[in-house]
Amino acid sequence: MQKVLLSGNEAVARGAYEAGIRVATAYPGTPSTEILQAVADNYPDIYCEWSVNEKVAVEVAIGASFGGVRSLSAMKHVGLNVAADPFFSLAYIGSATGGMVIVSADDPSMHSSQNEQDNRNYGRHAKVPVLEPADSQEAKDFTVWAIKISERFDTPVILRLTTRISHSKSVVELGEPVKPNKATYEKDVNQRMILPAIARKMRIKVEERLKKLIEWGEDCPLNIMEIRDKKAGVITCGVTYHHVREVAPELSTLKLGMVYPIPPKLVRKFTDSVKELYIVEELDPFIEMELNHLGIFPKKGKDVVPVLYELNPERVEAALKGEPDPISPPMPSDIPNRPPVLCPGCPHTGVFYNLHRMKARATGDIGCYTLGALPPLSAMDTCVCMGASLGNALGLEKALGEEFNKNLFAVIGESTFIHSGITGLVNCIYNKGNTNLIILDNRATAMTGHQPNPATGVTLMGETTHELDLAELARACGASYVAEVDPYDLAKTRKALEEASESEGVSVVISKRPCALIVRDEWKPALRVDVEACNGCRLCLQVGCPALSMKEKIAVIDRVLCTGCGVCAQVCPEEAILERAVI
């Protein structure tokens, strides 16, 4: 068969195709986003969608399974928190009619996430099998296995990836696609109405299913025992297996492809074959606790393998040798950092510049705009999780009184607002808040790579659809003041923000302008500085635009980076920043 170079995410998409999956849903989130992107780009037979959030994504996938169709739902690790409610019910309901795989892409080291949760724990918590591939080949193959297991054992399956799997590319040998199931629907309340009386019966099924899965795991092809040196052996899973092989090629290994439930006989066979047992796993002592429960205690485990952050060959080597954890590699410390920044021409900048000038407080949310918290804008105070800004603002108001709220804004992106901010808005209004909300509508879910969303009026499959009118929605929820502004116009934006904070009830200001990266053809020629007029006051640097810097006490604008948005020109008291043609 043909061999190709695929990322773990692309491999999962290919696996979905080979497994006969016909419905795939997701809400974007690093490092999982490219899975659905790859489905949309390569496999037109699969219906795919950006759902508004992960909960809805899983619910759509469950619906497809009810209809006899195999489905996949992909999300980043924290996405499964949002989808936990349907997911836990699904664990009881099962997926006998159409296999279901829930892809959870975890982010050890939090390369682009707010926390480092280990979603293998969801397997144990919901009593659902967890598969964990170690490279792209397995990412594809395990997706196919997930569907087989799901249908055979009547259970959803978690396919757990990590950033290193999702975003690493390796060689994949493609397989033949199987025929998809035939879509049918039969009413079956005893399998699908999770009422207490029925759930109690399902509860029994769940325990029996686990036993069967353990039995199957004892000699399933996903768990691979390799006996080399009998002096010591390592139980491991995922990409960590490869780190172990890299630094200690002589050690025997048991690689658990199905990392939950763990088959005791197989584990004992392995521990009996080697003199010393080590467990090397990333993040939580998940395998270790399962083994402890069986009365097996490794010679080396989480006592030497760090629980924090992503593992790599040198950390694994140090742990096995009993050396201190080389947690960060040596790097020169006397050189400037390069933190991520809002792009030149970013429409969020105009809002944050104003908030900064108004000395406003702002409860923030998650998206590109989270970067507005960094200097020089320093315009946001908090970030908890998607959709939290509204609830946080109301809580502050209730705690500190209405006066405090005058100069307090909740700031949220449009995709995040639709994901889980709408309920927060309704709550603010219902509970008589005075909160001021800013929705940053940049016509894309920009942070994760410019996916369309309901406010853009386009679907993942490229179809045009109803475009959600955010202003109308805010009014319908009961907002007393609603304004739409162009954030490139600093003065008008400021005026709207001031009116919002002065008006009674909940106010909503919608900052509307497309992300500069999606409208490159609309960029204006780079601006330039009139060197005679510039007095070196550095006020323009307060905008935080990467295209601006100072050279010999005069502002300079990078011609390649500048998009001509004109925000810095509005800030300059000397009117020294001009359009190119004027000079």
């Binding site: 061999k3 590319k169 390796s170 890299e246 040198e314 020169p332 991520p340 920044v341 640097l541």
Partner: protein, 190 residues
């Protein structure tokens, strides 16, 4: 090998072409990078390994054979990850981080010297001007790849066919020229 630079410099495409070239020789390849937050103008490092059999996609610090630096400061930041007798190929370009632009920090002026002081063999290439002379500044990546290819043991044909596969059709000819120019610069410094 490691590839270091600034988000938006085309590092991912470059590492893609390297990986493909190695694959064309029947080798096992793994490459790793991190997308997302780190991309918005932040530091980016891509890791690439090839050989008969590759286990970990990551490289132990201080053992990489080669570092391809797309930007000088980023090359220096990553230099310690290269083995002491390894090679650093560095593009002669400076991109100021926001901390420098806003006056909070200073961009080191002696990076060339600092790089040499690491003891690794340094090959400097002015890829931007080479690409500009060819009339296609977007071919900067491929100029750098040419310099890299001159230091590696992969066949030239594998590189050429990988480039043809991955760059836009219209730009194939100019990219092949860019590759050749980069190769020549690198070769001189063996």
């Amino acid at each position: 090998m490691l590839i270091a630079g600034v988000g938006g410099q085309g590092i991912i495409l470059a590492s893609e072409i390297i990986a493909l070239s190695a694959m064309k020789e029947g080798l096992d390849v793994k490459k790793a990078e991190v997308h997302g937050m780190s991309q918005r103008g932040g530091s980016v490092v891509s890791t690439l390994r090839y050989g008969q059999k590759v286990f970990s996609p990551l490289i132990k610090s201080g053992t990489a054979d080669i570092l391809l630096g797309f930007e000088k400061l980023e090359a220096y930041r990553t230099a310690q990850a290269v083995k002491p007798d390894g090679v650093i190929i560095v593009n002669d370009q400076e991109i100021y981080p926001i901390t420098v632009a806003s006056g909070k920090a200073k961009y080191p002026q002696n990076l060339d010297q600092l790089l040499v002081q690491t003891g690794r063999k340094v090959i400097k290439i002015d890829a931007y001007n080479i690409a500009k002379e060819l009339g296609e500044v977007r071919a900067v990546n491929v100029v750098i790849l040419g310099a890299l290819a001159s230091q590696l043991d992969l066949n030239k044909e594998s590189w050429l066919s990988a480039i043809k596969e991955r760059v836009p059709k219209k730009a194939v000819q100019v990219n092949l020229k860019a590759f050749q120019k980069g190769w020549e610069v690198g070769e001189k410094q063996v």
